[in-house]
């Protein structure tokens, strides 16, 4: 049985012609999306991926000291290693010293334990004159790090090519010689404090933003156009002002001899010689950050409230509800998508904030992002910065996931 093929006007079977047309459309779509996709890939996905990859990549040192790590494998880490291990280290380090390639080791090992940098540098100078026997003795004479078993333990801990040690360090844990996970020394446990403080600041700033933004947004959404436009400009004006300018203005306002304190004294709420401290503590951080992040809460709330018909509240009241009940049962649930969007925005922005708390927060103004910046810029320990960054990213994604489970992400509404 032969069915008659339907032909299009140019003589091709319809099926083929249709596929051709569809392919063309698909290609067009791809060309439209392509540039953005490529742009994101080049400027966003790839650099970030490359950066995060550094947190586990420890191949540099493994490749530079192969003999040492092979020799250290059986060493138990209790007493100083024997002659063979010192000799293996000599075999690795000597060529590096001659070809001036040992520099990268100094910093890498100094992250592991303070003191490696100067110890290795001195060894680098002296090793060229070493005699070809009795390596242990010669190393021990060169620098005190070679007389200290802790440094050998630290060295052994860098042996694996791929390492999760930086992640442990991010939560104040470390490895002991037997590679068990133990707590960091007590006076160096700093990261847990910073994580908790970061979460606390972000949480409270979100709450404060919500409390302030809700009535403002309501006003914006219900006022007649000519007033609400003016109010909208008041909300947006700070939004267009540089972050640093706004933070500095808060510093002027909040300082002990500043206008707000003058007002408090003038009102008789505090004595002149006992002015309250509004800055360089947690109060300053909350005030400045709340003001700076407020628009991110107002805008989504406003756009959601704008869509709620006023007749809904009237209907609620005409059915016998008090204004409060009508608000609670009708209005508030309708604004939840806006609250969700605003809170998520503010919280995620706040969690990565650091300039404002650093300037007005005083001793308590150091957050986890300040530590990341320190390791990026100052200590150049990029792998640790990458590890902390990954942890922050995973944290934010977790919050997003929890939010999705509780509220549902399709409930979010930005406008």
């Amino acid at each position: 049985m032969s069915t008659e093929q339907i032909l299009s006007s140019d003589g091709l079977p319809l099926e083929v012609s249709l596929r051709k047309a569809e392919r063309k459309n698909k290609l067009k779509a791809l060309f439209l999306v392509g540039p953005l996709f490529l742009f994101l890939l080049i400027t966003y996905v790839f650099p970030i991926g490359d950066m995060l990859f550094r947190s586990v990549d420890d191949r540099m040192i493994t490749s530079k000291l192969p003999n040492t790590f092979a020799a250290l494998e059986k060493w138990d880490g209790k007493e100083l290693p024997d002659e063979a291990i010192y000799e293996a280290f000599y075999k690795d380090f000597y060529p590096l010293a001659i070809s001036k390639e040992s520099g990268k080791l100094y910093q890498r090992l100094n992250y592991e334990k303070s003191g490696f940098s100067s110890g290795l540098k001195k060894t680098n100078r002296k090793i060229k004159k070493f005699e070809k026997s009795n390596y242990k003795e010669q190393f021990m004479e060169t620098h005190k790090i070679w007389r200290n078993v802790d440094y050998w333990v630290a060295l052994k801990n860098t042996a694996p090519k791929w390492s999760y040690v930086k992640y442990l360090k991010g939560v104040d844990l470390k490895l002991d010689p037997e590679r068990n996970i133990i707590q960091q020394d007590e006076d160096r446990r700093i990261h847990k404090i910073l994580w908790l403080r970061t979460l606390k600041v972000a949480f409270w700033v979100t709450i404060f933003c919500f409390m302030l933004a809700y009535p403002i947004s309501y006003l914006l959404a219900t006022l007649p156009m000519k007033y609400s436009n003016l109010l909208m400009i008041c909300v947006l004006l700070p939004f267009w002002t540089s972050l640093l300018v706004r933070t500095s203005s808060w510093m002027v306002l909040l300082q002990q001899q500043g206008p707000i304190n003058d007002l408090i004294v003038w009102l008789g709420l505090a004595a002149n010689d006992n002015r309250p401290e509004l800055m360089y503590n947690v109060i300053g951080t909350f005030v400045a950050m709340t003001q700076i992040l407020l628009p991110f809460m107002v805008l989504p709330l406003y756009s959601v409230m704008k869509t709620i018909s006023p007749s809904l509240m009237r209907a609620g009241k005409s059915l016998g509800g008090t204004p409060f009940v009508a608000f609670r049962k009708i209005y508030f649930p309708l604004t939840v998508p806006g609250i969700g969007a605003g809170s998520l925005l503010v919280f995620i922005l706040a969690i990565g904030y650091y300039i404002t708390p650093a300037l007005v927060g005083g001793a308590s103004g150091s957050l986890i992002s300040n530590t990341i910046a320190y390791h990026m810029k100052s200590s150049l320990d990029w792998s640790f910065a990458a590890a902390l960054g990954t942890m922050l990213l995973v944290g934010v994604l977790t919050i997003y996931w929890i939010y999705n489970k509780l509220v549902g992400i399709d409930n979010i509404k930005l406008g």
Partner: protein
């Protein structure tokens, strides 16, 4: 993977290259400081050699140049850096190692460059630029200082004698040295004893405990500063009674009429250096080296002191300033007495020890932050 990522990073940096690719790019800290460098030796050098010099601001640290290097497209030639950064940059192979006496001009009397400088360099990749000082200052209009004034570092920590808040640097650097001096270690000339004590077992802990005591004291208390402009401001508006800071900033504030007095006991002399980027755009053609040689010459370094109270590194530059007093740009202020190296100011001082900090900065940093977190 590695090649592709390099290529992509390179692409993004290619976009940042401007038409000034042929000028020698010098990177520094901006503000009044870069201004003093540009007017003091940047412009004269450019005029003399006929090589354009382009100034770029940054906020310190080696992250940008490391990123440029990894991307394989370097746009900076010369960077103004801290001592510890020259050490790290040298180890990481970012900077050029100098052949000091060959690369840098001798003094006018023929003294080789290495002997004309006050001290030796922290690494082979560094050439000195200015000396500045970490010292402290107080607002002499404050009633606390009506009868007696602070004279020593111990006074800075004495809250019975001088009750009121202090402002100190947000990091451990400078603070633990000051604390060690307040614990009774004399700095003398050079301060090596201070670093010996700090390097000993538990030394840093004791110094940090001393700071904690000052900050916890209800009669004391600490405000941490992080920008150089803050200490004079905090003193001027009465937020604190005493503050540690950089002498050039205190000097500029004094010139503007702020009622503050500087105390030079146990000042910490610190340095700024130039380092030259290996493989920079003007490395191979030698232009960067020519510019650097000219800027760090005797006249070059003396030039910047016209605009800011930081001391030039070269002894021979001081002679030029001395002969040309009043040297400050206003035409009536003598500069030498305001410099950290003036004899009246160097009765007791410590030289910042970059090796100590390169070794210990991370460990001390963690202990310091842990202390601050417990305040």
């Amino acid at each position: 993977m590695k090649k592709l990522s390099k290529l992509l990073l390179a692409l993004s940096f290619v976009l940042s290259i401007t038409t000034s690719a042929f000028a020698v790019t010098v990177v520094s800290w901006g503000g009044a400081y870069t201004e003093s460098q540009k007017l003091g030796y940047g412009d004269p050098t450019a005029a003399k050699l006929g090589i354009a010099v382009n100034w770029v601001d940054y906020t310190g640290g080696l992250s940008e140049i490391k990123a440029q290097k990894e991307a394989g497209k370097i746009t900076w030639d010369i960077i103004d850096v801290y001592a510890k950064d020259t050490i790290i940059g040298c180890d990481e192979g970012i900077f050029v190692e100098f052949d000091f006496d060959k690369d840098f001009a001798p003094a006018p009397d023929g003294t080789p460059a290495s002997e004309d400088y006050f001290t030796s360099m922290p690494s082979k990749c560094a050439v000195g630029n200015i000396l500045y000082s970490w010292n402290f200052a107080y607002n002499h209009d404050n009633a606390v200082f009506a009868k007696k004034q602070p004279k020593t570092m111990k006074d800075f920590f004495n809250t019975k004698k001088f009750p009121g808040k202090r402002s100190i640097y947000k990091g451990a650097m400078s603070n633990i040295e000051f604390a060690q001096a307040a614990l009774g270690t004399k700095a003398g000339k050079g301060g090596s004893k201070i670093y010996d004590k700090l390097a000993a077992d538990g030394g840093v802990d004791k110094a940090i405990a001393k700071i904690k005591k000052l900050c916890d004291d209800p009669k004391g208390g600490c405000v941490f500063w992080n920008a150089g402009a803050q200490p004079p401001e905090l003193l001027a508006n009465g937020e604190v009674i005493m503050a540690t800071g950089w002498n050039g900033r205190f000097f500029n504030a004094q010139m503007e009429g702020t009622p503050i007095t500087q105390v030079w006991d146990t000042q910490i002399l610190d340095y700024e250096y130039f380092a030259m980027v290996k493989g920079g755009p003007n490395d191979a053609n030698g232009k960067a080296m020519k510019v650097l040689r000219e800027m760090t010459s005797t006249e070059g370094l003396a030039g910047s002191a016209k605009y800011i109270a930081y001391a030039p590194w070269r002894k021979s530059s001081i002679a030029i300033i001395d002969a040309g007093e009043p040297w400050y740009k206003d035409g009536k202020t003598s500069m030498v007495q305001h410099m950290p190296t003036a004899p009246a100011n160097t009765k007791s001082y410590a030289l910042m020890n970059p090796e100590f900090w390169a070794d210990n900065q991370d460990e001390i940093g963690e202990k310091w932050e842990a202390m601050k977190a417990g305040l």
